[in-house]
């Protein structure tokens, strides 16, 4: 039985009071609950404060480029489907720079878990608007206030019938831990958008702001009802629903590839006799 100690304790580069600390804790607890050993996991992240998270636990890690965690994770999962692959990065990385990959990953339904730290602001570059920043939010880069409407990742994912769509809040650790455990257990693409305060650069969407608005979906809520999920996905403002908003079982991308039914691509022999037959067709 794996213990939380095996995931280690590391010094971080985060501001005191940052939501990242509790998200990291929930991730570790979710992994323990999923009975996964560090070497069975591959964390892939991009660039940003959230993208540093995988450096602060014991696991295999590929910390790549800003916005490009999903394609790296996709390639690694296809090469070795036995890996449990978790993408962890921020809202700017995943929804801004990496927006096209987000749409493609939902369509592929590749079996990986995507944890998005969503603090509605750029932290690492000091406070510019992110894709999820609300209209009118004033920053040094947007001195007249953000003019664009915010990106709603949950609504987009539900509209595209992503196979697992959830929202958590860094201030509700136990709830988030359960979401992470369920997302890991889900076969297919699983999105968890995690709301979190940024104590340095977001003075609007504070811990108290979220605390007042966030509520968990009731037991009666049916996440397989797509119409209901679309309605819940657009609920934002005075009340913000948390939990699994939409879920659907459909074949994973890798299950559709005949080649991968015999296992991963690592250490596969190259059959030169077969290649000889292929080359004969050119004569």
């Amino acid at each position: 039985m794996v213990s939380i100690e095996e995931y280690g304790q590391f010094e971080t580069a985060w501001c005191p009071g940052c939501g990242n600390f509790s998200i990291l804790e929930s991730v570790k607890r979710g992994l323990v609950a999923s009975r996964l050993e560090p070497h069975q996991l591959l964390f892939v992240s991009g660039i940003g404060q959230a993208a540093k998270t995988p450096h602060y636990l014991n696991a295999n890690v590929f910390n790549g480029l800003h916005g490009r965690a999903l394609p790296v994770a996709t390639g690694a999962k296809l090469a070795n489907p036995n890996l449990k692959v978790i993408v962890e990065s921020g809202d700017g990385c995943n929804y801004g720079e990496g927006g096209n990959h987000f749409l493609a990953a939902i369509r592929r339904n590749i079996d990986l878990t995507m944890i998005v730290h969503d603090n509605q602001v750029y932290g690492l570059t000091k406070g510019q608007a992110s894709p999820t920043t609300q209209e009118g939010f004033v920053t040094k880069a947007q001195p007249e206030g953000v003019a664009s409407t915010p990106f709603n990742p949950i609504a987009v994912a539900v509209a595209m019938q992503a196979s697992f769509v959830a929202r958590g809040f860094s201030g509700m650790g136990d709830h988030l831990t359960t979401l992470i455990e369920k997302a890991i257990a889900h076969e297919g693409f699983a999105l968890i958008d995690v709301l979190q305060p940024c104590v340095s650069f977001n003075k609007v969407n504070t811990f108290a702001w979220y605390k007042k608005r966030c509520y968990t979906l009731s037991e009666e809520y049916d996440p397989t009802d797509w119409q209901a999920a679309m309605a819940k996905a657009t609920e934002w403002g005075d009340s913000i629903p948390l939990g699994i908003l939409y879920r659907q079982q459909r074949p994973t991308f890798e299950a559709r590839l005949a080649v991968l039914q015999q296992g991963g691509l690592v250490d596969r022999e190259t059959d030169l006799r077969e290649l000889e037959k292929i080359m004969d067709k050119f004569s």
Binding site: L65, P71, G75, L78, A79, E276, M279
Partner: protein, 560 residues
């Protein structure tokens, strides 16, 4: 009358079937034992436009395209108007009698009398085969192999169309030279550059390919996709080129030897990924099939103008190798070599090809697969030093490479500067050590570097240097000059980076005039040689009008 070297030009609109006629002729001629060089030139559209398929055929070994035309096979009137002046004295135009071109130098074919419209290509193939003096059984077999035997009605109709073409041709009094018979040269393959790159990659053990479609690179991925289930690899069409290279890096990190085929504009999107491969020390093979730029340029034509781009692509400093195959055989062998170097040195390695070579079918002696040694993946399972450190400092700069999930040891790779364990660091001493470790790997790449290939006199009056697909034209131009009693040497660079001066400086010093011949406007190889060695070539022969360099072009430019 016989002629050992004939140039056939098929012209028409896209969708008219000139590729069908061209491919059938190529296959049939190679089976009959001839040497061929195909040059395809097309407009960037699926229907319409003016396309040509040039097929140079010879009873002797030929390696370059030729400009003048012996037989113009016109599938529309426009082709006659555009190319009539290229036809040599004693040459022939083959055209539908409906065009009413007249019989002088033209064989007017009554396509409508001879067959239904959809079999006109077979008729054209039959008539041309007859003109060239090809064995009728071989011609019929080629058609049968191309269309299969499943549809018995189709087989029969093809056979009838071919017979009608033979019979009609036999009744025509045409004065066109036949090809001399050649001895049986054993089994040979008909393969173009892109097919050879795909086959070379398969032989090297490629297990993952990600791509975004882009002419003229796409057919590499398509050839791999066609064999994916038989050869056990995954080929994925990515959402964009940025995804393609990042997927390949992810797959390679997890243990699958990976390839990414693209062209200039797509490669431009990949450059941050190239830098990531350099920093994370992830092996990846990137094929850049060049076409004329800037921007969208001439999407379906050829050029060699991305050498400097590929050499400098990606921010920061890290080692790389760039191979530049000049023949279909080199496409195969250098793709294998690219995997070998990438895996051994944990670096991005490039193959620079171009539209001309990508689409140029040639006759190739089958590659000897039986004696191929498997390429070492460079992946370890049992680290000699514990705890395992992905970026352990070594003398060669190459750190032991494990892949995630295959052992209990954790593998951490980072795009930030990292200490030996792969995590984040801002320690500037570590930074210095890591830069030096990465750059030490270049020594390993240099040890693997392929020497430029020289041929010619010991101390030639003129030395022609070149790289990539222009080599054929250079070799033939040199042969023509030697026939005029000129003393000529040629030097072909199948690898343009890293340059190893000891491998070639003596040739420069022992030659009279050194001329660099390449398909771009800057003279990019010449500039690179000057930068690396201080040697300035005496003259450039450059081409950048979208067409491949030909022997005639070189001779004209040299001005004798």
């Amino acid at each position: 009358m016989e002629k050992s070297d004939l140039n056939l030009l098929i012209g028409g609109e896209a969708g008219q079937g000139l590729l069908t006629i061209g491919d059938l002729l190529t296959k049939c001629l190679v089976r009959a034992g001839y040497s061929v060089v195909v040059t395809q030139s097309y407009h960037s559209r699926i229907r319409g436009g003016h396309n040509t398929f040039a097929l140079r055929v010879s009873s002797k070994q030929v390696v370059a395209p030729r400009e003048s035309v012996d037989l113009l096979i016109a599938l529309n009137e426009e082709t006659v108007n555009l190319h009539r002046t290229e036809v040599v004295e004693g040459g022939l135009i083959l055209a539908d009698e409906a065009y009413g071109i007249g019989s002088g130098g033209c064989l007017q074919v009554p396509y409508q009398e001879l067959s239904e419209e959809r079999f006109a290509n077979i008729v054209a193939f039959g008539v041309v085969s007859h003109l060239l003096g090809l064995d009728q059984k071989l011609v019929a077999k080629t058609v049968e192999d191309a269309f299969g035997k499943k549809d018995s009605q189709l087989v029969e109709k093809n056979r009838l169309a071919l017979n009608d073409a033979f019979n009609w041709s036999g009744q025509q009094a045409v004065d066109f030279p036949k090809l001399p018979r050649v001895a049986d040269s054993g089994q040979r393959l008909v393969m173009n550059g892109n097919e050879a790159i795909a086959m070379g990659a398969l032989s090297a053990g490629v297990k993952f390919c990600a791509f975004y479609p882009m002419t003229p690179a796409t057919s590499i991925a398509l050839n791999l996709a066609a064999q994916a289930s038989r050869m056990g690899l995954v080929v994925e069409q990515a959402e964009d080129e940025i995804a393609a290279i990042n997927m390949a890096i992810g797959a390679s990190f997890a243990g699958a030897p990976s390839i990414v085929p693209t062209s200039g504009g797509g490669f431009a999107l990949m450059t941050e990924g190239v830098s990531l491969a350099g920093m994370t020390e992830t092996p990846v093979v990137i094929v850049v099939a060049q076409r004329p730029g800037p921007a969208t340029g001439l999407p379906t034509r050829t050029e060699q103008a991305d050498l400097e781009f590929v050499l400098h692509a990606g921010h920061g400093e890290f080692p790389r190798a760039i191979f530049s195959p000049g023949t279909v055989e080199e496409c195969f062998w250098l793709t294998r070599k690219a995997f070998e170097v990438a895996l051994k040195t944990q670096s991005p390695v490039f193959i620079l090809t171009d539209q001309f070579l990508a689409d140029s079918s040639r006759a190739v002696i089958p590659f000897d697969l039986k004696n191929l040694k498997p390429i070492d993946s460079g992946i370890e399972t049992d680290p000699s030093n514990l705890p395992y450190r992905r970026y352990a400092i070594t003398e060669s700069g190459i750190s032991p490479r494990l892949v995630p999930g295959m052992t209990e040891h954790l593998v951490v790779a980072g795009s930030d500067e990292h200490p030996v364990d792969g995590h984040l660091t801002e320690d500037l001493n570590i930074r210095k050590q890591m830069v030096e470790k990465r750059l030490r790997k270049e020594q390993g790449i240099i040890r693997e570097a392929i020497s430029p290939v020289y041929s010619g006199d010991d101390r030639p009056d003129i030395l022609m240097i070149t790289w990539g697909s222009s080599v054929g034209a250079v070799l033939e131009a040199a042969a023509q000059l030697r026939n005029q009693s000129r003393s000529v040497g040629t030097l072909h660079f199948p690898q343009v980076w890293p340059l190893v001066p000891d491998q070639f400086m003596a040739y420069f010093q022992n030659s009279g005039e050194v001329v660099c011949i390449e398909g771009n406007a800057f003279g990019q190889l010449a500039r690179l040689i000057r930068r690396e060695t201080g040697f300035a070539v005496h003259r450039n022969v450059l081409r950048y009008d979208g067409l491949p360099i030909t022997p005639e072009y070189i001779i004209r430019e040299l001005g004798n």
